[in-house]
């Protein structure tokens, strides 16, 4: 009796997350994948599904053999999409690097602040979330536009005579991305640095390391998991970001999220848009798997207690 209850409890405990993943991730993914393999059509919905639930097994296998992967081929062959991928990748990578450079000192200062100030500092970092994301991005338009706040200030201080062209450039996208994702970098970094035992730094200096070297040899390696976590939290969503490039970027900067939107809503090419989504997912899965492998190896090395 007890055994069966315990068994059911365990099933619920393990089964629920799987069920959740199945219903809200795997199923939608399969729907999108099917769409990506289909041809577009003048219909409602605007595509002709390749697979059908009424197909038998052999019919399904035949269909798989006959797949032309036309949409994926198009993505590969059409430079427009490849460019969008590369631009997205470049901007997401630049955002991540910039955020490490900005976020690390910030998180470090927060973690070293007097203990009673720290909760306030954390609250300040997440404070912007209380305002709508869209409003904050629009505010950046107001700041960056030719007659905006930034140009006004620069002109009044006499640093420039002609307004800087920032809005509708990649620079504007980068500024927007860095601004929007700052908390996602700072919070994991702060968590890692705050947990770091200050006496370790003292021990390093006691053993003859100057402060900068103690920082480099102790603080940095021990906060690496935080850097990695922050980088993933930033890089992955930045890769597929749509709102910021759409509002701050020019029409000539095409990113993946943007092309997905264009195919879906402007061209009504659902299968191609789905193919973009699938590719995006696959690209993002790569680093996630790498991270997972890294973490597993690290945990294993720690368990074995050997050199890593």
């Amino acid at each position: 009796m007890i055994g069966r209850d315990a068994g059911r409890g365990r099933f619920l405990l393990i089964g629920l997350p799987w069920l959740w993943l199945g219903v809200f991730f795997l199923l939608p993914f399969l729907v999108v994948l099917r769409m990506a393999l289909s041809d577009s059509a003048q219909a409602r919905p605007p595509y002709r599904p390749v697979f059908d639930l009424s197909d038998g097994l052999s019919a399904t296998l035949d269909k798989i053999a006959a797949l032309d992967l036309e949409n994926f081929r198009l993505l590969w062959e059409e430079p427009l999409y490849l460019d969008a991928f590369l631009t997205s990748f470049r901007l997401a990578a630049a955002t991540t690097v910039l955020l490490i450079l900005i976020g690390y000192p910030l998180a470090h200062a927060m973690a070293r602040a007097p203990a009673r100030l720290r909760p306030i500092l954390v609250a300040l970092v997440i404070l912007p979330f209380w305002t709508s994301f869209l409003i904050r991005v629009y505010a950046w338009i107001g700041i960056l536009k030719p007659e905006g706040l930034l140009n006004m200030m620069l002109r009044q201080t006499g640093l420039i005579s002609e307004p800087l062209e920032i809005l509708n450039t990649e620079a504007a996208i980068l500024i927007g991305l860095v601004y929007a994702y700052l908390p996602f970098m700072v919070l994991p970094l702060y968590a890692a640095l705050e947990r770091l035992d200050a006496t370790l730094i003292e021990a390093a200096t006691d053993l003859g390391a100057p402060r900068w070297k103690a920082f480099w040899l102790v603080t940095v390696p021990l906060s690496l998991p935080g850097v990695l976590a922050g980088s993933f939290l930033v890089f992955i969503p930045a890769l597929g970001e749509f709102v910021i490039p759409d509002l701050l970027g020019g029409s000539d900067t095409l990113m993946m999220g943007r092309s997905l939107w264009v195919e879906f809503f402007n061209n009504r090419d659902w299968p191609l848009a789905s193919a973009v989504a699938v590719v995006l997912l696959v690209i993002v899965m790569g680093p996630i798997m790498a991270h997972h492998a890294f973490e597993t190896r690290r945990a294993e090395a720690e368990r074995r207690g050997g050199r890593s």
């Binding site: 035992d197 006496t199 370790l200 003292e202 021990a203 390093a204 200096t205 006691d206 053993l207 003859g208 390391a209 100057p210 402060r211 070297k213 103690a214 040899l217 102790v218 390696p221 021990l222 090395a301 720690e302 207690g305 050997g306 050199r307």
Partner: protein, 392 residues
């Protein structure tokens, strides 16, 4: 030697307690201290963590800072490591003023209370860290790391990460890491705090042997009096940021400076009283709690009428059996409590005044003819020279 014997007056003052080793530079007026604290003060907000400390520690000395929690021991020691700066006064090492010298340039190493081992490095990596900072050649680093790990018997675990070590093993690695640089002074902040009693006692003797073998000056912080008594050449008793007494373990135990030190270090019964007059070489003290006039030995700074405390340790009191010669001071009481500890038995004897006196007796024989039992009427006593007269 303690009994009133005619030969006593002709001899110089009797030596106090056990003699440890032939090492007492603090008695040599020509000796120059290695470490000097001069009028050092440090405040944290409203609390004065260190409140005017003057202290000298000599080369090769094993020096202990002992005191209750929060009395400023760690702060005082961290000033030598360079982790706290004195608000006032200065700290010198081998004659050199350490003000403004950053920790990494000081020839002292610290073994941290929490060990502070680098979790991302192996045992060997931790120990090699300090040598690498000095830019020594790789082969020399490897040789010295191996040697010091041998000393602390951790060579076999050189490739482990600290997380995979037991408390005692971590403690050894921390010690090795601090020792490998051959510092002038090794600072130890409650180094044995995390060990169980047995391992702790073993390690105490190992540390003492190591200190003598290496010839390094040890400055150790502890709040465990037994540990300080066992290990130190000299002890400084601290209280509320001040140093109350400095001396060898025996001096501090047998001749405490005041009531606080007497009570802090070991058990003691203090009979409050007033000095009546001279009694041979000593004094007589009328004590109401004792219920009699006590005869005590020579004491400095007293005169008839001075209020004093006569402090007596449990092992220096004894239960006087019928027919035995009675010592100079005897009191009658009732056995209130008996604690049998195996090697010792502690009797708590209640006097007529209500004062409870602790008397301890060594259990030298397995069986006693007439054992003392609960509520027995007993007579206890002590010799004049066994008591300490406290004026503060």
């Amino acid at each position: 030697m303690i009994l009133d014997s005619p030969s006593r007056s002709s001899r110089s003052a009797p030596a106090i307690g056990a003699v440890r080793r032939d090492f007492a530079p603090w008695k040599d007026p020509g000796a120059v201290p290695l470490i000097r604290y001069e009028g050092v003060r440090k405040r944290f907000g409203a609390t004065a963590a260190v409140d005017g400390v003057d202290l000298s520690v000599f080369e090769r000395e094993f020096f202990c800072l002992l005191g209750p929690s929060g009395c400023g021991k760690t702060t005082l020691m961290r000033m030598l490591g360079g982790f706290e700066t004195p608000d006032e006064g200065r700290v010198t090492l081998a004659g050199r003023d350490l003000s403004g010298v950053p920790p990494h340039l000081r020839p002292v190493n610290m073994m941290f209370q929490s060990y502070a081992l680098f979790p991302h490095m192996t045992v060997a990596g931790n120990v090699a860290f300090g040598l690498k900072q000095d830019g020594l050649p790789r082969t020399e680093i490897a040789a010295r790391v191996d040697a010091v790990l041998d000393t602390v018997q951790m060579r076999g675990l050189a490739d482990r990460k600290p997380d995979a070590l037991s408390g005692g093993q971590k403690q050894r690695v921390a010690l090795a890491r601090a020792l490998v640089k051959r510092p002038k002074v090794l600072l130890l902040d409650e180094p044995l705090g995390a060990l169980d009693k047995r391992l702790r006692e073993e390690t105490q003797y190992e540390l003492m042997d190591l200190q003598v073998a290496l010839g390094i000056t040890f400055l150790m912080v502890t709040h465990d009096q037994d540990e300080a008594m066992t290990m130190a050449d000299r002890i400084a008793i601290m209280d509320e940021g001040r140093i109350v007494q400095v001396g060898t373990p025996a001096e501090i135990y047998e001749a405490p400076a005041d009531r606080g030190v007497a009570a802090f270090l070991g058990d003691v019964t203090i009979f409050e009283g007033v000095v009546q007059g001279r009694d041979g070489e000593g004094w007589t003290v009328a004590s109401e709690p004792a219920g009699c006039v006590l005869r005590v030995g020579e004491a400095a700074g007293v005169a008839p009428g001075t209020a004093v405390g006569v402090a007596i340790r449990p092992e220096k009191l004894r239960i006087v059996a019928e027919g035995d010669p009675a010592p100079a001071n005897v009191m009658d009481g009732e056995v209130w409590d008996i604690g049998y500890l195996g090697d010792w038995t502690i009797y708590r004897v209640k006097l007529a005044s209500g004062l409870i006196v602790r008397v301890s007796q060594a259990n030298a024989a397995r069986f006693v003819e007439r054992p003392v039992g609960w509520e027995d009427r007993v007579r206890i006593g002590f010799d004049p020279a066994s008591a300490v007269v406290l004026t503060a």
